[in-house]
């Protein structure tokens, strides 16, 4: 199968959905002429023009509000918030409006709105361009939250997100845009809400998502040489969470490490661990362990940034601890 980048996969998903459905349009800062801060919307403006690929003012709150209004009235917008760090500017519109409106209105409307954004550290951009705030978003009933790790998942899940009749926050990772992987030429969709076992294993389960999937797979490969068989569960969707896949894996390995890049306290890992406690306590041979980002704003300094998030080596070490 051909290999393309995560960026390219996302770009294809957008292009295909723009072709398929005339109600789809894109709006966000620098998405048109510039093609997106990370190049995800490259060339779409040339093809579809201002009418369907819209540069917006730097107005995050209104970007989501406008997307929501359009979604409520017959369109299927894909809006972009350039960095997840700026999601707080739009969070009132996401949390109070987009996610709640259908329920508040007694189910009498739909909100087919996709909000694309990106997160994560790794480019030494400091505290305002390196966050991972997904745990806020999983705390918003009415929303779906998708966070793909591979080009294949990125394409299939973005297409599903756009077609979903609910508001979806689709979170990319800045360090994945250049990563490559197999993506079929023919069309496919990946259902929202299904985790994927990226590597089968017997001794321990690593539950993770986004860039940390890649690091966890590296760690698993390292540990294989030590005779440790690591299963890597890529959640792909954080809300709704695929508890069945998680529990099945715990039943198999009885030991769990959760790896997340987001800072630890109040992170998604807490929810995952607590779900395991609730659904599979008796299956556990050891406490579930979290390896997460440090509970600090992301420091600029490259040496500190590396220490602030998990890396393959520390994942190995944490797995060893879980196995003891």
């Amino acid at each position: 199968m051909r290999e393309i980048s995560y960026r390219q996969a996302l770009n294809e998903a957008l292009n295909e959905e723009l072709v398929r459905d005339q109600t789809v349009f894109i709006a966000g800062e620098d998405v048109a002429i510039y093609g997106g801060a990370y190049g995800v919307t490259a060339d779409l403006w040339k093809k579809y023009g201002d009418e369907r690929v819209k540069d917006t003012p730097i107005s995050e709150s209104a970007i989501v509000g406008v997307g929501l209004g359009a979604a409520l009235t017959g369109m299927r917008p894909v809006v972009e918030i350039m960095y997840i760090d700026f999601i707080p500017l739009a969070l009132e519109q996401i949390n109070n409006q987009a996610a709640k409106i259908r329920y508040m209105f007694g189910g009498k409307c739909t909100v087919p709105l996709t909000i694309r954004t990106e997160g994560g550290a790794g480019r030494t951009l400091g505290a305002h361009h390196s966050q991972s705030l997904e745990s806020w978003l999983i705390h918003i009933p009415g929303l779906k939250v998708v966070m793909p790790a591979t080009p294949y998942d990125a394409k299939g899940l973005l297409k599903s997100s756009i077609r979903d009749n609910n508001p979806v926050v689709f979170i990319e990772h800045k360090m994945l845009y250049n990563s490559k992987g197999p993506v079929p030429e023919e069309e496919y969709l990946i259902p929202i809400g299904q985790a994927d076992i990226k590597r089968q294993g017997r001794d321990v389960t690593v539950i993770t998502y986004s860039r940390m999937v890649l690091f966890s797979l590296q760690a698993a490969a390292t540990l294989e040489k030590e005779g440790v068989s690591v299963e890597v569960v890529d959640l792909r969707t954080l809300l709704p969470m695929d508890i069945d896949t998680i529990v099945a894996s715990v039943r198999k390995t009885h030991r769990v490490l959760i790896v997340e890049e987001d800072c630890k306290t109040g992170g998604t890992g807490a929810e995952i661990g607590m779900l395991i406690m609730e659904h599979a306590f008796d299956e556990l041979d050891a406490p579930v362990k979290r390896l997460a980002g440090a509970d600090v704003p992301m420091p600029k300094s490259p040496v500190l940034e590396k220490l602030a998030i998990p890396d393959p080596e520390r994942i190995c070490q944490a797995i060893r601890e879980v196995l003891q």
């Binding site: 003012p57 107005s59 709150s61 509000g65 406008v66 209004g69 009235t73 007694g106 189910g107």
Partner: protein
């Protein structure tokens, strides 16, 4: 603008419906039949009724925390609205929204909103949608004077002016945001000046005069519909009750209240219509009685309606 009998009766009826609806809710709150907060629209009827009277049924509005008036004027069903405010299963939102979230998307009412300024972005997006779908619809976006200090108000007006969207922003200036007067909250007292930041046409209108509102918004709606020209209309008006049930209204004087009540949009419009020979006294009295009955009916309906089933807690979340 000439007003024929049919129109006069329609405007008067809607204003009476709103007034009596609100008075009834005040009563239900006092009797603990209605629970929770309710921001009442009494006094401001001419704004919702005048503005919405120029719209097509398929045009959109967005509303506010003070949304009963807009909902009624946008062809809302009195029974379903009253039931919603009581939190009943038969409510327009199945009892899940309540006073702060009255909505009926099928009738073009994109909803009341518990967040001041919360629907201004949405209105702007609906206007983008109708422009893209080429349906010739228009959006009227209601909000209060207080909302003009929210960031999203400015962000949205900028986008509407920049992209030429068919939306008319109607600011209901009742001179207070809760207890804080416009003077104490806004650097400009003439709120229409805020549109200058976007080169957007704006004007101020007497919000106690249903025909004045109708005329001004009517003109602006036509510009929006035919030329994609957004605009801001500031309607000066007054709310009769406190901000919410518990408000002792210490921030305003009884004289000021009296001043505005003398300009009550309902009797003033009625007597003008009588003076002009469009209506006769008896028609007005009959109408009032008819409205009284429909409000009573709606109230009975709402009170007699069942509560939502416990299972409904979890329905209607995802599509």
């Amino acid at each position: 603008m000439a007003v024929d009998k049919q129109l006069a009766l329609k405007l008067l009826k809607q204003m009476m419906e709103i007034r009596q609806f609100e008075d009834k809710i005040m009563e239900l709150l006092a009797r603990n039949i209605a629970e929770g907060g309710s921001h009442l629209y009494a006094g401001m009827e001419a704004v919702a009724v005048g503005a919405i009277s120029v719209l097509r049924p398929d045009d959109y509005i967005t509303s506010t925390h003070r949304g009963h008036g807009h909902a009624i004027a946008k062809d809302g069903d009195l029974k379903a609205l009253m039931a919603e405010i009581l939190g009943k299963k038969t409510g327009v939102c199945k009892g899940k929204g309540g006073s702060l979230h009255l909505a009926d998307v099928s009738k073009g009412n994109l909803g009341a909103n518990g967040v001041v300024g919360g629907s201004i972005g949405m209105a702007t997006g609906a206007a983008l949608s109708v422009k893209m779908r080429k349906t010739n619809q228009v959006v009227v976006c209601f909000f209060g004077d207080g909302a003009t200090n929210q960031g999203i108000f400015y962000e949205s007006l900028n986008i509407a002016a920049l992209w030429k969207l068919p939306v008319v922003y109607v600011c209901e200036n009742n001179f207070y945001g809760m207890s804080v007067s416009v003077k104490r909250a806004s650097a400009v007292e003439d709120l229409s000046r805020k549109a200058l930041a976007f080169d957007m046409p704006a004007e101020t209108v007497n919000g106690m005069d249903v025909l004045a509102v109708r005329e001004a918004v009517g003109r602006r709606v036509e510009e929006a519909r035919n030329q994609f020209q957004p605009s801001l209309v500031v309607a000066n008006t007054y709310r009769y009750y406190g901000h919410s049930r518990s408000d002792p209204r210490v921030y305003r004087t009884r004289e000021e209240e009296k001043f505005w009540k003398e300009r009550d949009p309902i009797p003033n419009f009625a007597s003008r219509m009588i003076e002009q020979g469009v209506l006769i006294e008896q028609e007005v009295t009959e109408l009032e009685e008819q409205v009284r009955q429909s409000i009573e009916e709606a109230t009975r309906y709402a009170i007699d309606s069942p509560w939502p089933e416990p299972e409904e807690l979890y329905t209607d979340l995802y599509a």
